[in-house]
Amino acid sequence: MTTAVETAEKGALAVKPRRRWGVAALGAYTWLVILYTIAPIFVMIAYSFNQAAAGGKLTFAWLGFTTDWYVHLFDLAALTQALERSLEVASVATVGATLLGVPLALALARHRFWGKGFTDLVIFIDIAAPSIVVGASLLSLFISLDWPRGLMTIIIAHIAFDIPFVAVVVRARLEGLDRSIEKAAYDLGAGPWTAFYRVTLPLIWPGIVAGALLSFALSIDDFIITSFVAGQTLTFPLFVYGSVKVGIPPQVFAMGTLIFVGGIVLAILNALWQRRQTA
């Protein structure tokens, strides 16, 4: 984080008149790219209000405005169930990954230990490895252990790919922390547990929340790894992918729109809360 003074020093470069056009053109270009990036979101929202053809599936053609799909949001049992599964998987995986990832971050940020370099490497590879290889290798494991694929294996897989993200985010927070505050706690007679519980934990809490939110977001959106370990179980992304070939029920876009709006609201609340924490 930069302080106000640094930000002021680094502030926008003074623009000479003859450069204004160039800067303006670059600005226009930036807005065009932003528009391009969010175009599919508008398409999703628009089609969630599109009337469906006789079969109850969405068509590429615009058939007229309707709010039916929001009124009948939960009419498709399979879709509703898939969404519930996704929320369930993301919640459980987030709790699991946070419980495992935070201590790992503490070990990495605060201690030197044998195998630290290797741990860093494993975390890096876990983040960098292509999903398809992670998914395929986990499926190999489950097949050789003869574990039936389903909700349990999905959650196991999600925790495995969430842990490194929680660890990296929390570790960054820990390393940005002023250690003299903790030393002061020790000087004032606090034991390691009290110091951790009363000083360190509250200070790294925003990092833990950020790590947990990231892992929730990754889990609820994961498609590739889940597709390998899911067996017959459907999560929301798997349901959507599966419906591409047989026709997309309009509720998919309605739910996508609601998840989008919910995500934005959560992100704004989190930003406001973080700002209050640092202020």
Partner: protein
């Protein structure tokens, strides 16, 4: 620091052990196991046994080398386009965004709030033969009636590029934002023109961000199969599609594992090369 006793020396192991054990069982061992399965022979009905069939690695790659090379080709092209498109955006937000920096960044990251599969799917609606864009152009006779984008390499690469944009802008922005403006000003004071200051000061200082973005996007896109499955056709099959069908439909685990091993190995070589040249530290910071 308090006593440096046994407790303190054991602390990192106790703290790290649960996560370590978990990642060992559900990440490290499976990755190694992939190689073992790649050396098995048998068939879906009777099961597979480990026969150390090393030549399977070479025979699979020669059978699927077309899709393998195509994946790296699509991955490289989409990553390069994403880099070229994203750099000016990240640059403008970081240097001229002013008060609205965070809001503009949030707009770029907005697609993260929509499911990846739905995002890809909407391009199906946008690019459909009779959809809004092509349909309108055809009605105005600006395009021939038989013109189509879906099922072509263009559609797949466009989808890959689109999905890569936020992942590319974010690390670029972080790197560019950290550049001290006084360094750029110093370059101007030393008579560097706009282009010179940009090429010799700004770009080298953002190298960490460029390669973080490059790695994130390249690895994801080379191993992707969703874009090819939703936007592509028979001629755009990527290695991810082959691995997926071998595993889940043909139950041909050895072939799928051999291809996964090849994919992981090739990408790790690429990462190791970058890590050697630019250092992994910076890359980790952005991921």
């Amino acid at each position: 620091m308090p006593r440096l006793g046994l407790g303190r020396r054991l602390a990192p192991y106790l703290l790290g052990l649960p996560a370590w054990a978990y990642l060992a069982v559900f990440f490290v061992i499976p990755l190694v196991a992939v190689l073992a399965v790649a050396l098995e022979t048998g068939n879906p009905d009777q099961g597979y046994t480990l026969t150390w069939h090393w030549s399977q690695l070479t025979s699979t790659i020669s059978e699927y080398h077309v899709q393998f090379i195509r994946s790296f080709e699509y991955g490289a092209i989409s990553t390069l386009i994403a880099l070229v498109v994203s750099y000016p955006v990240a640059y403008w937000i970081a240097f001229y965004g002013g008060r609205h920096k965070s809001s503009m960044l949030l707009l770029v990251l907005l697609p993260f709030f929509v499911s990846f599969v739905i995002r890809t799917l909407t391009w199906n609606f946008i690019l459909a033969d009779s959809g809004f864009v092509l349909g309108t152009l055809k009605r105005w006779h600006l395009l021939s009636q038989s013109y189509h984008v879906l099922s072509t390499p263009t559609a797949v690469i466009a989808g890959l590029t689109y999905n890569a944009l936020p992942f590319m802008v974010l690390p670029l922005y972080v790197a560019l934002e950290q550049i001290d403006r006084r360094v750029v000003r110093a370059a101007h004071d030393l008579y560097a023109g706009q282009t010179m200051a940009f090429a010799r000061v700004v770009v080298p200082l953002s190298a960490g961000g460029i390669f973080a973005g490059f790695l994130l996007v390249f690895v994801t896109n080379v191993g992707d199969y969703v874009n090819a499955a939703i936007l592509g056709g028979p001629g755009t099959t990527m290695i991810g599609n082959i691995i997926q069908t071998s595993y889940l439909q043909n139950l041909d685990y050895p072939t799928a594992s051999a291809l996964s091993a090849w994919l992981l190995f090739s990408l790790l070589v690429a990462i190791a090369l970058y890590a050697r040249v630019f250092g992994t530290r910076q890359i980790q910071e952005y991921t």
